[in-house]
Amino acid sequence: MKVLDYLKDHVTYLDGGMGTLLQKRGLQPGELPERWNVSHADVIVEIQKAYFDAGTNIICTNTFGANSLKFDDEELQTLISAAVENAKKARELSSGMQEKFVALDIGSMGKLLKPYGDFEFEDAVEVYAKTVRIGAACGVDLIYIETMNDSYDTKAALLAAKENCDLPVFVSNAYGEDGKLMTGATPAAMVAMLEGMHADAIGANCSLGPEQLRGVVEEYLAYASVPVLLKPNAGLPRSENGQTVYDVFPEEFSDVMKGYVEAGIRIAGGCCGTTPDYIAATVAKTKDLAPKEIVPKNRTLISSYTHVVEFKDSPILIGERINPTGKKRFKEALRNNDIDYILGEGLTQQEKGAHVLDVNVGLPEIDEVEMLKRVAFELQAIIDLPLQIDTTNVTAMETALRRYNGKAMINSVNGKEEVMREIFPLVKKYGGLVVCLTLDEDGIPAEAEKRVEIAKNIIRVAKEYGIEKKDLIFDTLAMTVSADSHAALATLQALNVIKHELGCHTSLGVSNVSFGLPNREIITAAFFSLALENGLSAAIMNPNAAEMMKSYYSFRALHGLDENCTDYIENIGKYASVAAAPAQTAGATAEGAKDSEFQSDLQRAIVKGLKEQAAALTIERLKTEEPLDIVTSQIIPALDIVGKGFEKKTMYLPQLLMSAEASQCAFEQIKNKMASSSSESVSRGKFVIATVHGDIHDIGKNIVKLILENYGFEVYDLGKDVPPETVVDVVVEQHAPLVGLSALMTTTVPAMEETIKQLREKAPWAKVIVGGAVLTQEYADSIGADYYAKDAMATVRYSMQQMGQQA
C-alpha cells in the first residue's frame, strides 16, 4: 500500500526520538550520528525495530544531518544507503502487524540563507537535492523534511524534493515558544507556502513539549487542507542525579496527543526525549479513534516570510508605487541601480497602510529578469509584506517566484490560451494567488457578461492544472470613464457577478478609471467605494492618496469590519486636514532663526541632524537659488562643521550620522530639482565600496558610503560578501579612481588581500582604502593597501586629497 492511500483512512504513526537514544548508547558529544548507520548498524536497527514494535507506521531514516555540507559524496552515498537498509531491516524484523513505511529523513542543513546568512538559495536547493536523489534511489516510501526553523530553508528543501523525486513529501517545522519559526513565520504562513507548493502533509516537531505546542497545532488545523502531523519533544530536559530526564512522561504525552488526534491531527509521533514507550502509549490511546475528516478550508491566502494576508471581508490594499510607468524619478532609479530609492517607495507604502506591495520593474533598457530578482530579494530583506510579482516576462516571473520567501501574488494571467499555458505551470509549481484579467484574444469585452464568460474559462483551465478557484483573483479591468461613460458600470457589474455568483475574489487597478479627468483622486475614491460595495476584495492603489484611504477606513467602519470604529478613529485624522504641512515649515524657520551660531537655518538643521527641517529649508531656498550654490554655500560648510567636531571628539558617531542623514534629505530635494531641470550633477569622483567576500557586516561600510555621498562622491555600493572579481569588474567598468574595502573579521582579511591583488593586476590606477574592526595600519600595509582609514572622516579626507580637492 502507498503511504498516501493509507493516510486517507488512518491515523498514522511516526517514530520517536533517535538522537537522545543514541546518546544513551554512547554517541559522543559532537560525534555525527549519521556515521552510526555504518559503525553501529545493529544499534540503529534495534532502536527502529523497537519503534515498529511499538506501532510506528513510518520510520525516519537516521539521516537528519546527511548532506553534502557534512560528508563528501562517497560517504554521503554510503551513509544514506546504509540508513535506508537499516530501516528496512528493522521493518523485516519487527513483529508489528501494522502497515510499515520508510521515510528519508532530511533535517535543516544548519546554514542560514541570504539575506541574513551567507548561503545562496539555489545552493541550498542543491544540497538538499543531493540527499533526495540518493535516498530516492535507495527505495524509500516518502521524504520527511523536519525540524526546519526557517521558512526559506524549508522552501529550498521542499523544492529539492519535488524536483528530484516523485515521492510524497511531508514537511515539519520547529516553532519557538512564541509560536513562530526562528526567522519569524507563523504556522498559517507556513501552511500557505507549503500547500501552495503541494506538500503532502505538514506540521510541527521538536523544540517544545506537546502541551506548549497547542497554539501551533490549533493554527495548523484551522488553516490546513492537507493532513497535519505532530512530533513534539518529551518536554524539556533537566538534570537529575547526573541523569538527563525529560519532564513529560509517556502517560501525560499520550494523553495530550490523544486530544490532538481527536481535534484532527492525522500523523503523530515524538521528537527529542521520546522513546518507543511514548509511541506505544500514544498508539494505545488513539488507535481505535476514527480519523477526523480533513475538510478543505478554502481560505485565500498569500504570505510573506512572517505572516499571511487573507482575502476575506476586509479589503486588501496593494501598493502600486513600485512601478516605473509614468514616473521619471523611478525610471532613473532603475537605470542607475538605485535600489534604495525603490526600497524607500516600499517602506513608505508600508507605513501608509499597504498590505501587499506590487513589484513591477519593467523598463525596455534594463535586464528585467535580474532587476526583478534583485528588487524582490532586497524588499524581502527589510519589509515583511507579501509581494505581488508584476511582469509580463515569464522568465522574470519564474525567477522571482522561485526565490520568493512565502506565497506570492502573481500579476497576471488573462483569458488568452497562450498566457494561461505559460503562467499556470508556475503557479502549480511555486504556489501563488493569481490575478486574472478578464480579457482574451479578442481584447477587453465592453459587456460585463462577456468578461464573466472569460472568467469562467480561466477557472476551467486553471482546474486542469490543479489550481483551485480560491487561488484565482479576478480583475474586471477598470477603464477610463471619460472615454466611455458606461465603462465603470461594466466593470462593476462583472465584478459583482464574479464575486457573488462565481464565488471568487476580485481586484482592480482603480485609478485607471479617472484618466483625463481633473481632480482624479476624488472620482477614483468614489469608484473605489462603489467597487467595494460591489464585492471588491482588493485594490491596486496608491496608499499615499488621502482620498483612497478615507474611503477605505470609512468602508470598513460602515461594513462592520472595524469594531468600535477603532481603526477609523485612530487613522482618519491623518487624512482629514492636509493643509498642516506648510505651517510646520514656517515654524521651523522661525525657531531656527533664534540660533545665531550658524550661518543659516539650513546649516543649523544639518548640523543638528533635523531631517524634515533640512528638507523643508532646502525646498525654500530652491525657489530662489541655484541647486549647486546651495550645496557649496550651505551643505558642504555644514558638513565641515560636523566633520571637524567629530575629529576633535566634540561630536560623536551617532551625531555625525544624524547630520549626514539630514544633509541627505537636503540632497534629495536638490536631486529632484536637478532631475526635473535635467542639468548635470557634479561629482567629486567615483568611489567603489564593498564589504569583502565572506563578510556580512556592513554597518561600517554603510556609514562610510553615506558620508562619502554627502561630500559629493559618486558611490558604487556593491554590498556585502562581494567576491574579488565583482569588485574588479566594477572598478574597471567605471574606471573608478578610488576603492574602499571593509572587513570585520580576521577570517575575511585574506579575501581583502586577494581583492587588492586582483585590483593591482587589472586596475592599477585605483587607490585602495581599507577599514573595519580588525584592521590596523600594520595589517593594511601587509596586505598592500594604499591607505588605512580609521573612520569615515579619514576616508573622506584621503579621497579628497587623492582627487586633488580641498576638504
Binding site: L27, P29, Y116, N149, T244, A381, N702
Partner: protein, 235 residues
C-alpha cells in the same frame, strides 16, 4: 559531572538581570559622553529606538557541562585546542560550561531595515543589540556561578573563540557540541560568523578554588588604541 545533554534556557525581558545599561549602549554606538549630556535630537532618536525595540528580543542560551582533565598543563575536553590563553583562563578547572547565547534574529532585521534610511537608528540598534547579548551572557554566567557556589565550586572568567590564541576556527567545534542551530537557532557561516549577529559563544571553568581571573574584557584586550575602550580602563 559530565553530561551528554544540551540544556536550553529562555529569559524574560522583564528579568531584573536583563536591565538595560544605557551608558553601555551609547558607548557601543561610539558616543563616549554621558547619557545625560546627549543633545535633544540624539535623545529623541535614542528613545525612538528604545521604543521600537521593545519586545524585539528573544533571549535564549543553550549550554552543556563537560568534564575536564589536565595533561601537561593543558585542559583535555571535547573542545580540542592548544590554546595557552584558554588553559590559563581555566586554571585547573575540573569542569567547563560551554554555552551559546542569542537575542534572536529580529534585531538583525530591524538593523537591515534602518541601515538604508536611518543609519543613526541602525547604529544605535547595533549597539543596543550588542549590549543585550552581553547582558544576557552576564545574567547566565551569574546564575551558573550561584549554582556552582551552592555545590561549593568557583567559576573562572568567560572565554570565547577569537580571544587570545584560541582561534575563531574553534567555533566549528562549539557548534558541533552545542547543536546551536537546532537548539536556539544560531547558524555559523563559512567565515565563522554567527547569525543572528547578536550571538555569543563562550565557556568558563568550574572547580574548587579556581581563580575567577579578569572579568573585564577591555582590561585584558590587546588593542590598546581602541575607540571603544571603556573609560575606566583608559583613564
Amino acid at each position: 559531572m559530565s553530561e551528554n545533554v544540551i540544556f536550553v534556557k529562555k529569559y524574560d525581558e522583564a528579568d531584573k538581570a536583563l536591565a538595560v545599561n544605557e551608558r553601555e549602549v551609547l558607548r557601543y554606538a561610539g558616543y563616549l559622553g554621558l547619557p545625560e549630556t546627549m543633545d535633544e535630537t540624539l535623545r529623541e532618536v535614542f528613545s525612538q529606538v528604545v521604543e521600537e525595540l521593545k519586545g524585539a528580543f528573544s533571549y535564549q542560551v543553550c549550554y552543556r557541562r563537560m568534564d575536564v582533565t589536565w595533561e601537561d598543563g593543558m585542559p583535555q575536553f571535547s573542545l580540542q585546542t592548544q590554546s595557552k590563553d584558554l588553559a590559563k583562563c581555566l586554571n585547573g578547572s575540573r569542569e567547563v560550561i560551554l554555552f551559546a547565547a542569542t537575542v534572536g534574529l529580529e534585531i538583525d532585521r530591524r538593523i537591515a531595515k534602518h541601515q538604508r534610511f536611518s543609519p543613526t537608528k541602525a547604529l544605535l540598534m547595533q549597539a543596543y543589540g550588542a549590549e543585550r547579548v552581553e547582558t544576557l551572557c552576564n545574567a547566565f554566567c551569574d546564575e551558573m556561578k550561584r549554582q556552582a557556589e551552592a555545590e561549593g565550586l568557583q567559576c573562572t572568567a568567560r572565554f570565547s573563540p577569537g580571544y587570545g590564541d584560541l582561534p575563531l576556527e574553534a567555533q566549528r567545534d562549539v557548534f558541533r557540541l552545542l547543536d546551536c542551530n537546532r537548539k536556539i537557532g544560531i547558524s555559523l557561516n563559512e567565515s565563522l560568523l554567527m547569525t543572528p549577529s547578536k550571538s555569543v559563544t563562550a565557556l568558563f571553568g568550574m572547580g574548587a578554588g579556581v581563580c575567577p581571573g579578569q572579568e573585564h574584557k577591555c582590561e585584558s584586550c590587546e588593542k590598546k588604541d581602541c575607540e571603544f575602550r571603556s573609560d575606566d580602563v583608559r583613564a
